[in-house]
Structures are given as structure tokens and as C-alpha cells.
Symmetry: C2
Subunit: 203 residues, 2 copies
Amino acid sequence: MKKTKDENTEEQILEAAKSVFQSKGMDGARMQEIADKAGINKAMLHYYYRSKQLLFEAVFNNAFSLLAPQLNAILNDDSSIEDKIKNFTSNYISFIVKHPYLPNFIIQELNRNQDFILKLKDKGFPNIEKFKKQVNEDVAKGLIKPISAEQLFINIMALNIFPFVAKPLIMAFTNSDDKNYKLLMEDRKTEVANFIINSIKTT
Amino acid sequence: MKKTKDENTEEQILEAAKSVFQSKGMDGARMQEIADKAGINKAMLHYYYRSKQLLFEAVFNNAFSLLAPQLNAILNDDSSIEDKIKNFTSNYISFIVKHPYLPNFIIQELNRNQDFILKLKDKGFPNIEKFKKQVNEDVAKGLIKPISAEQLFINIMALNIFPFVAKPLIMAFTNSDDKNYKLLMEDRKTEVANFIINSIKTT
DNA sequence: ACATTTGTTAACCACTTGGTTAAACCATAT
DNA sequence: ATATGGTTTAACCAAGTGGTTAACAAATGT
């Protein structure tokens, strides 16, 4: 079959592109390096993806569609706020350990090109509305201390994502090597959830 | 005097380079754009700074020496932990509003080039030791709930820095325009400190 | 068997990149 | 005045850059 060969190289290109784009960014990435890593001729990149920009967008959308479901677990799940925080924290950290370049890549490129966010908003972007309702209700019931849903959501994201985005800084400040850093992150699977819940639970 | 002219263009170059490097990063920045922005010939950049790499390092060190004192306020000040958190949160957010590109720039470039962190460590890098001692003592005295100094420090950094690094994401999730985003950040000057203190204070 | 479509390559191209050079400029010291 | 020194410029350069082309290879349909 023709398809096997066909889909194979297309997949190999995407895999190589992912690796190069995610570690060097759009500006730092070189088409030649992607071709080399995929083990094919540079012209093939254009044959399958037409331009650097389109290849990049394929990688970016791919990455974002991995991240989005993670965030939906906080925003649109039906469980209690406490459960959401516990589950998300633990799951997200496991998730990032498997995809270490992902959060940095997305944040960096969203900052570089504001237009991306508009394109993403079209096709079903995670929305805060449901979570907002839940938080407001819980506050009204006295289950958690008064806090705006936006600020709580920002805090959850910050505590979970930042340590990976700022990995080199954190390693430097805490005098950690890679092993020590990994331990710190492992601890955070429970630490972060406790930290948040301690802060918002009513006494 | 010859010096006035001399120091003037050198300063203009650095200013232009700061603006370009901080918004586009090392890879995205173009020497021609820096020259244009400084209103001078491209050759002058090399006359004063020899290479793109050295010009970039001048900008980077400059940026980092602005950020370092902010972090030292948490790590090496003599005030109580609660005061530190309150002051740092408020001060840092004000600081970043004045230098919006700074945290992203530093984090991005540290991730791109691991060697930078080694160079920084030579010349007096903020150190966590004193803060660690303080936290451990306060925990022992029962003033705050048990938490490792490293995790607390990471949390403080995360809650303060992340919202600026991930500005586009946060604006998208919270459906904010620039004005609304600014309000959110303004609120955080007190929100974040309360959030942290609520979490660690003993009841 | 043969024509046609699809996949792949090497060579090439126009253009941009960071960096250099040699000559001009200009304030000052003599 | 003029020689001297640092400052500034226009023109240039080699090495990449993303992208194209035309010819070749391999699979597929008839």
C-alpha cells in the first residue's frame, strides 16, 4: 500500500518538528534540523506541510489539544472543588513529567504571536463560566472562604504550571540537581492541593 | 565633549536592544531592527558591543540585576514571614507592571540557554539559605503550619510571577480585555498575600 | 505492459542574516 | 592650521535561510 509509507513519513516529520519546535521555538527552529531529525530531505517538509508556519501550527495545535483536556478537568468536571483541586494537581504534574517542554512552548509562542489565541478561541476553548458558578455557590454556602473564581483559577494554574516553566530558575534558587528537582515536583502532587485547600476552606 | 556623544549612543543602543530582545527573544531579534530603533547605523552595534551575543548578554544581565533585588526582599530581608509576603506581593506586582516583558524574557532565555544560569551563579546569586532557616524556625515555634521552605518559596514565586508570564492564556480563560486584566492584577496585590497567609498560618 | 499518479531527492534560488572594512567625519590637543 | 584620536557611515561579504524545481523512483490503475 502507498498509504503506509505516506503516513509514516508525515508522522515522522510531525514528530521531528515537535521535538525541534518545542525545544527551540518557532524562531530558533531550522527546517534543515527537522528534516535531519526525521531522516528525510528538506523538500519533503514542504511537500507535506507547505511552509514552516503551517508545520509549526500543526505542532502547536497538537500540543494545545493535549493540554486543553487537562484544564477542562478543573473547569467543567462535575466533582467538588476540593476533589477537582486534588485530582488536577496530581494528574497535571504526572502529565507534564511526560511532556516537559509543553507548557513553556505554549506560553512562549502565545506571547510571541497574539493571533494564535484568536484562532484557538474559534474551535472550543475551555471556558470558565461553569467553574465560576460552582465557586460562587460554594462561597455563598460558606463551604469556602470568599474568593473570586478568576483569582482561584489563576492560583491553581500558577501553582501547578509555573514550577515547570521556571525550572532553571527554581533549580538555581534551591540548589537542586535534576534528581532533587524531580523530588520537589513529586512532593508537589500533594503539597499544592493541600496548600490551596488550606487557604480556601472554612474553619 | 566627546564623551557625551559617545555614552549617549551606547545608551541608546542598549535601550533599543532591550526593547527588541525582550519582546522578540534572542532568536527573533534582528540587529537591523535594533539599529533602526536606536536611529544609527548597524555597524555601530558591533563597534560598541562586538557581537549580537554580547549585546544580548548586556541586556540580559541588565534585566536580571533589576529582578534580583526583588527576590532578595523575600530571601534575605529581616522582617517576619508574613510581612515579607505582604510586601513582596505588593511590590513585585507594581514592579512588573512597569517592566511587563521582564519575567517572560528571563524565563524564556534561561530555558533556551542553560549556561546563563552558571554565569549568574558566579556573581552573587540570591540564596535560599537564610529564608530556609527562618521558615524552619517559625514552623518549629508553631507560628506557621509545617511546610518546606523550598515549596513555600516556589509557591510565592508562582503566584506572583505566573500571571504575567501567562498573560495571553489568562486573558483568554477569563475573557478579559487589557483593562480587565489590569484590574485582576491590581486585585492580586492583596489577594495573593492573603491567599498564602491563609494557607500557612496556624489557627 | 504501460500510463499515471504519488513520493523522494539533489540542485538550485532569492533573500536575509550577523559581521567586516575602508573611508569619511569631527572634536580636540598641539 | 593640522595631526590625532575616537566616532560614524555606506558598501560589502560569506554563510545561512525558507522555499522551489525538475528530474527520478515507486507504487497504482487500467
